[in-house]
Amino acid sequence: MGETIDLKLHVWRQSGPNAPGRFEDYTHYAKAIPTHASFLEFLDIVNERLILAGIEPIAFDHDCREGICGMCGVVINGRPHGPRKATTTCQLHMRHFRNGEEIWVEPWRAKAFPIVKDLIVDRSAFDRIIQAGGYITARVGSAPDANAILIPKQVAEEAMDAAACIGCGACVAACPNGSASLFVAAKLGHFNSLPQGKPELDRRVLGMVTQHEKEGFGGCSNHYLCEAACPKEISVKWIAKMNRDFIRASLRYAPPVERKEGYG
């Protein structure tokens, strides 16, 4: 239980979006790390030591620390969220590292995810993609009885598979093209699979794909590294569905004439 390991730790430090970044060697502060600590707790321990040594602690994003909020995520030895399959950084534990192992910690790298500080990146592009259509328009007060819409179990389960996305951005970090296809496809897959989502399907897929382009993400070239890195194991089959829906929508969609009233 009291087992500890020493690590050779290198962490990317960068004070701001346009500042030059570099790796710092924190091996000195990465000694006697309990193997039962999570990776973020390991960074906490290093940070406590850095603070007491008068060094600014490593900035990293995190919140729920139980693998669901999607806020945490760093690249560990070239792999987003580290070496374990289906595991977020906060759920990764130090027992999966060897004593004396060299660890390189870096932020997500993609043009659409500018670095805020150290290991923190700006993922607001994801929010803007959702704003471009990642919703079902349903005003409060207008909803029919919940059982009025019958949804086959299988459809609900499939939609849930896609909806499990936590929006962490590991797919983008893993993709050699810096593409967010898996994220966009998962959100589209969730809504577009459900009957409630069908009326806005074309508008949604065109809007979100367009926003994805505008944010500067790359395109998908079928490497499927996103699926391998995804902590929720979301399938690339959703990308195929997105492609199909997008192609179909492009062929048949005519934007409605925008009227002055409303906020649309």
Partner: protein
């Protein structure tokens, strides 16, 4: 302090309908003249922001995370209650109301709780319309399950991620309004203070967490939907960033704080593994259906491999003490008994501060009885989660569990309109005290958040605006605004200055504070302990303010500074919690005063004692605390009347 609850009278099932009719409306053309500030983007905040914006108001929304999608509502696993009676098993609005009042041990308002039960039905409709992929039956109808020992199946769920799916639905609705230009979203921005002018909430002071910039935001009403304060204990199941600063700063500006000592404990969390531990993770209580809870009888066995301890040396304390219910004893009793045996020195797992805090939850017998496949089918994902975190295989080695804080029923006092005693300051979700009394039922937190945001605030905020009109005469140069910013600046600078020479990290102090509160104001409380805590906390607070170490300045992203500001508030809140627990000289719900518990009745077989003993004569009320300057508080009381549910003691 003016504590007019504004609860309607008349038949309970008509109260909300009648009240809604009494509430004034705002003309659609005038709505765009109003600006509403919403702090927090969890279920309550996001749904309120989206709905108000859809009605035509301008909304300014804040969250400390990088995106509104990350609020901690996302981590709720179990489900959401609704009195739909889709199963035809005898559920009704009245039954949900009744059980909530009773579950809260008669410390909540009947009118509020009835409204919650009534609205629960609409929430499910709204969420399905927004695309929440709730579990379905083969025929396409919604599935339900029984949750937390209720006799009816009224819980709707989306695998073990109900909170996530509901939050994403609220977030998507909010996103639609952001795209429409009706909501202005400010992520990575934390509320530092409330601006009150002439008794009305007029805005907030925020700190941009990336640039460190302090800003004043002014509006016609302020809604706080900032969640609970469980992190006061340092270790809890809350997200790391969850904090009490928004409600605490509002409290310091005059808002009453109700029932701060009501904090709920969950019995089956994965125990702490070491001092570095940063948070606790819950596991479903359903594990207790098949697992047997025990500790070694002899302290010297506590470090041994549990498999090597013979049956006669195992102490199945719940089964022995309570043969009738055994391992399925209610949450609070199971939690307290775990603490009791661990404090006796029989706990297992790592020793932290001289105590091993953990008990075994053993599936060996269940596996022998049903076979490993049946157990895997039922609990496979929970076992996997346990193994991922602890590195131990629960199919072979008994799990270790320990109780953890996971919800706070206390919060800012609000009236029936969810408005605090500061006019124009509304409080929603876990941040208010309103609906759960002294104990919350499982799967009711999500329900309350969405009820407040989707279905209550849009009416009551409108009424407030219609009655008061647009706020006039307050701009950035108003003395109240300027002084609020100045105060915030001074406070931050103070920490930066002290921080340069400090000797201990923020977490060091936070852990110490948490330990005091967990020991003295946690699962069980007594007068002596509370008095001790009331002496220790202010001392530690003073030390914190003098010796905390913070590296870096205030004009940049500085996580230590953020934490210091939050912990500073936790210290004051901790004092108030102990004070409230001390003054509430009874046991009720989660609040267990050791002085007030039932004794075993020798004439009743299976009688075990250890139950809460309420004192309805003296304490059938809400305790509301007023800030009276540094470390001083005044206690006020809002009496509770029960017309529909008869006051009775819980019996099992």
């Amino acid at each position: 302090m003016d504590l007019k609850s504004n609860t309607p009278t008349g038949p309970i099932e008509k109260r909300w309908q009648n009240h809604k009719f009494q509430l004034q409306l705002v003309n659609p053309a005038n709505r765009r003249k109003y600006k509403i500030i919403v702090v927090g983007t969890g279920l309550a905040g996001a749904s309120a922001g989206a709905t108000l914006a859809d009605l035509g108001y301008n909304v300014l929304s804040f969250c400390y995370q990088d995106s509104p999608r990350r609020a901690h509502s996302i981590a709720a696993q179990g489900g959401i209650n609704a009195a739909k009676n889709y199963q035809g098993d005898g559920d009704s609005v009245f039954r949900l109301f009744y059980e909530t009042i009773k579950g809260g041990d008669f410390r909540a308002r009947e009118s509020n709780v009835y409204r919650l039960a009534e609205i629960s039905v609409d929430i499910i409709d709204q969420c399905v319309a927004l695309g929440v992929p709730f579990a379905r039956e083969y025929g396409g109808l919604l599935a339900n399950r029984s949750f937390g020992g209720t006799q009816v199946s009224r819980t709707f769920y989306a695998r073990g991620q109900t909170g996530q799916q509901l939050l994403l639905a609220a977030y998507s609705a909010l996103s639609r309004m952001i795209a429409a230009g009706k909501v202005q979203m400010r992520p990575r921005c934390e509320m530092i203070d409330l601006i009150v002018v002439d008794g009305r909430a007029r805005g907030i002071v925020t700190r941009d967490l990336v640039t460190g910039k302090l800003e004043a935001h002014l509006g016609d009403a302020v809604i706080l939907a900032t969640g609970g304060y469980g992190n006061v204990f340092y270790l809890s199941t809350n997200a790391k960033g969850c904090n009490a600063s928004a409600i605490w700063r509002a409290h310091r500006r005059g808002a009453g704080f109700a029932n701060p000592c009501f904090t709920q404990i969950h019995p089956t969390s994965i125990p702490q593994a070491g001092e570095y531990q940063s948070k606790l993770t819950l596991m479903s209580e359903s594990l207790r259906n098949d697992g047997r809870i025990w500790v070694p009888r002899k302290p010297e066995d506590c470090t041994k491999d549990p498999r090597s301890i013979p049956e006669r040396d195992r102490y199945y304390y719940l089964e022995e003490k309570y043969p009738k219910f055994g391992n399925l004893m209610p949450r609070d009793i199971a939690s307290r008994q775990a603490k009791f045996v661990c404090d006796q020195g029989l706990g297992v797992g790592p020793e932290i501060d001289g105590v091993r805090r953990g008990v075994y939850l053993d599936f060996t017998d269940a596996i022998k009885r049903d076979g490993v496949e049946v157990i895997r089918e039922k609990y496979g994902n929970l076992f996997d989660m346990y193994e991922r975190i602890t590195g131990e295989n629960p199919y072979e080695v008994p799990m270790r569990i320990y109780p953890a804080t996971h919800y706070t029923m206390g919060g800012l006092w609000v009236d029936y309109n969810l408005m605090s005693n500061i006019s124009g300051l509304f409080v929603a979700g876990e941040a208010n005290f309103s609906d759960h009394g002294a104990n919350r039922l499982g799967a009711s937190a999500l329900m309350q958040g969405l009820a407040d945001g989707f279905f209550i605030l849009p009416y009551t905020v409108a009424d407030y605006l219609a009655r008061n009109g647009p706020s006039k005469g307050v701009d950035e140069n108003h003395p109240a605004v300027r002084s609020a910013i100045k105060e915030a600046e001074a406070r931050i600078n103070q920490f930066i200055e002290v921080g340069q020479k400090g000797t201990h990290t923020v977490d060091y102090f936070h852990r110490k504070l948490g330990m005091i509160l967990w020991n003295e104001c946690g699962m069980t409380r007594n007068e002596k302990g509370l008095r001790k805590a009331l002496e220790e906390i202010p001392k530690l607070h003073e030390e914190f303010r003098a010796k905390v170490k913070i590296v870096g300045g205030g004009e940049t992203l500085n996580r230590e500074l953020e934490k210091a500001l939050r912990v500073d508030d936790f210290f004051e809140l901790g004092v108030l919690m102990c004070l409230d627990a001390l003054e509430r000289d009874e046991s009720c719900g989660c609040h267990f005063r050791e002085e007030h518990q039932t004794k075993p009745d020798p004439n009743v077989p299976g009688s075990y004692g250890g139950e809460c003993v309420r004192d309805d004569e003296r304490f059938a009320h809400v305790a509301v605390w007023e800030w009276k300057g540094e470390g001083k508080f005044a206690r006020h009381v809002e009496p509770l009347n029960f017309e529909y549910v008869k006051l009775e003691q819980r019996k099992y």
